[in-house]
């Protein structure tokens, strides 16, 4: 049964993506989540879909999610039509989240492509709040064009921040883009890593993940130190509906964050025929 949250603010990120700030009533326990977890959001009368939580886990009663509108989206189109003050059904949080608590003291490299950034943004907020618990924090973010980048203000803040490194790239630049043009794996050559101390958190399209992983392997980063958020497959969120089942893993229950060796097994299952 969903709880009802009211839309407090809507931030237009790009032409197709909006970030919704939602408030739960004070008598609700709130959204107590860890970075990487997701929740089920519904427009009552249209349907329900899972989206990652992208705000700081510090806030309980106000939380955010970023949603891309697809032309055929049964939920995303009506969701994008909602205004401040409208109600959204939420269930959650769900899933396992990134293993931030287990990687204290290590260097964290965050690699995001396009719409992969939201849950990692939550992880960045968490690490900046607990800065002393981690070594280097590095963000590598790639988008198609400068316009397509999410959270442009946050990216600027992170770029300016003395507490973390932030590298961005775009596939196609415009006249005003001062930064790097190229693909995400190329950014890896611009950072200095200490492989044995490094844990990598990733989320992005498969075409980005594969070359990034092979580059990281070349750099001697262990496959057991790479974590990937695979939230694209889910539906019910509680391991019952079966849609996200790959082999014997339910992405929504056993994930959505998986260690790379687990991902390889799942991909082997998918690619066997």
């Amino acid at each position: 049964m969903p709880r009802l949250a009211v839309i407090e603010a809507i931030e237009i990120e790009t032409k197709t993506e909006k970030t919704f700030s939602l408030r739960l009533p004070d008598d609700d326990p709130g959204m107590v989540f860890s970075p990487g977890q997701f929740a089920e959001f519904s427009v009552i009368g249209a349907g329900e879909a899972p989206f990652g939580l992208c705000s700081s886990p510090k806030e309980r009663h106000v939380f955010q999610t970023t949603v891309r509108r697809y032309a055929s989206g049964a939920v995303t189109v009506p969701l994008h039509r909602l205004q401040v003050g409208d109600y959204v059904g939420v269930r959650g949080p769900m899933g396992n989240g990134f293993p931030l608590g287990e990687n204290l003291g290590r260097d964290i490299v965050i690699i995001a492509g396009g719409l992969g950034l939201p849950t990692l943004r939550s992880a960045i907020f968490f690490m900046l709040d607990n800065r002393d618990d981690y070594g280097q924090v590095v963000l590598l973010y790639g988008a198609r064009t400068p316009e397509d980048r999410l959270y442009k203000e946050d990216l600027q803040d992170w770029w300016d921040s003395p507490y973390m490194e932030c590298h961005q790239t775009v596939d196609v630049a415009d006249d005003y883009w001062p930064g790097y043009v190229g693909y995400v794996p190329e950014l890896l050559d611009r950072v200095e890593l200490d492989p044995p101390r490094t844990t990598v958190l990733m989320c992005g399209p498969g075409v980005m993940i594969r070359p990034v992983v092979s580059r990281l392997v070349e750099m001697d980063v262990g496959q057991d130190q790479m974590y990937i958020n695979m939230e694209a497959h889910m539906k019910c969120g509680v391991g019952k509906c079966g849609h996200c089942l790959i082999g014997d893993k339910y992405v929504c229950l056993d994930g959505p964050v998986f260690r790379y060796d687990e991902v390889e097994e799942m991909q082997a299952f998918q690619n066997a025929i």
């Binding site: 049964m1 969903p2 009802l4 009211v6 519904s42 009552i44 009368g45 249209a46 349907g47 329900e48 879909a49 899972p50 697809y70 055929s72 989206g73 109600y87 059904g89 939230e231 694209a232 497959h233 539906k235 019910c236 509680v238 391991g239 019952k240 509906c241 079966g242 849609h243 089942l245 082999g247 014997d248 299952f269 998918q270 690619n271 066997a272 025929i273």
Partner: protein, 359 residues
């Protein structure tokens, strides 16, 4: 008898009276009935006369009353001002499921584990299960030529557990076993009709059970061999190609399978202001099943679907999560499949390379 099962004898001629007395308990009674063209369905009945007691097994598993193909999460009413109203469905009223066959009893045990014991528990299933009393009717002979329950681990024509009451026909009498609190309620209702069980009848039943398992079933499925090969991942892609070649992607096997659990969640509009959120059965054999966030469908070929279906039912990895394999030997997939790819054929193809086994 162990495990606190109380065994009694019900004389064959007293069965109609026993059935009539079920209605006195006030629960809804769901029992096998015959549809106009002869298919059997488990439907709510108002008198014993509506039941068909010469049935083999139903076309659709009686588990549909515990996990309906379509059910309500909630109804909603949109308001001009303020939050939409969300109205949970009324809780289900108690019912007796009479005449459920041992394969479906095994399926209920599977569903109990899947929906209730595996966290998080499913509330809708839990509510229905709680008010359901299962009266099983053991099979003295195969209910149909498509039956192969003795080949399934923990299966067979007589249930060992999972029922509240089980009737087994032995000659002109029924051995009636009451296994639970809910069963005890039925026993009290039937008290005047029952006689204490004798060691002879129990022995006769056990003999009958053994014989049925070994001799009477003509159809065999080599599930054990299929399980070994699927779990060890030694099935060749050619096998899946072959199964996929016969698959129309209609989903019939999963819609009839008593242990298939996949569903889809949708909002259904009654009108502009009101509607309901429902879940309805879905099948991994259908094309749109794994649609992803971006609307894409990753390489979901018919062979891949066949493999996914078999892997879910037959692999040791899923056995570890579920406590039993996902086939109870009811044979409904054999009836459903247009391409003649029921579970026994699939097992055979998995066991032997397709070049030898193709028809």
């Amino acid at each position: 008898m162990d495990r606190g099962i109380r065994a009694c004898i019900l004389a064959g001629e007293k069965l109609p009276e026993a059935l009539a007395q079920l209605f006195a308990l006030g629960d809804r009674v769901i029992a096998p009935t015959q549809a106009p063209k002869g298919d059997i369905f488990f439907c709510e009945v108002e008198s014993a006369a509506e039941m068909d007691l010469s049935y083999g097994n139903s076309l659709v598993s009686p588990t549909e009353h515990l996990r309906p193909p379509k059910e309500l999460y909630f109804e909603y009413r949109l308001k001009d001002e303020g939050p939409p109203e969300i109205i949970p469905p009324p809780p289900p009223s108690p019912f007796i499921l009479f005449g459920i066959r041992p394969c479906d009893v095994a399926a209920v045990q599977y569903l109990d584990h899947f929906f209730l014991e595996r966290e998080p528990a499913d509330k809708l299933y839990g509510q229905r299960r709680e008010v359901a009393t299962l009266i099983a009717m053991a099979c003295v002979e195969p209910a149909a030529e498509t039956c192969f329950c003795p080949c399934c681990e923990g299966g067979g024509p007589v249930s060992d557990s999972g029922y509240d009451v089980q009737l087994t026909r032995v000659g002109e009498e029924y051995l009636v076993e009451f296994a639970t609190e809910k069963g005890e309620r039925i026993r009290r209702q039937w008290e005047s009709l029952l006689a204490p069980a004798t060691p002879e009848i129990i022995e006769a039943r056990d003999l009958q059970k053994e014989k049925a398992g070994e001799e009477l079933f003509e159809l065999h499925a080599n599930l054990a061999a299929a399980v070994r090969r699927v779990s060890a991942d030694t099935v060749s892609p050619a096998t899946w190609e072959e199964i996929g070649r016969h698959c129309y992607g209609c989903g019939g096997c999963s819609y009839l399978c008593p242990v298939c659990t996949c569903f889809d969640v949708n909002d259904m509009k009654y009108d502009e202001e009101s509607g309901a959120r429902i879940r309805q059965m879905d099948s991994c054999r259908l094309f749109g099943y794994p649609r992803e966030a971006a609307g894409g469908v990753r390489g979901f070929s018919l062979p891949y679907r066949a493999r996914m279906y078999s892997y879910h039912k037959l692999s040791y990895e899923h056995f570890k999560k579920q406590g039993r394999y996902g086939c109870v030997g009811c044979g409904r997939c054999i009836i459903a499949c247009l391409g003649h790819m029921g579970m026994p054929t699939v097992c055979e193809l998995i066991r032997r390379p397709p070049t030898e086994a193709t028809s």
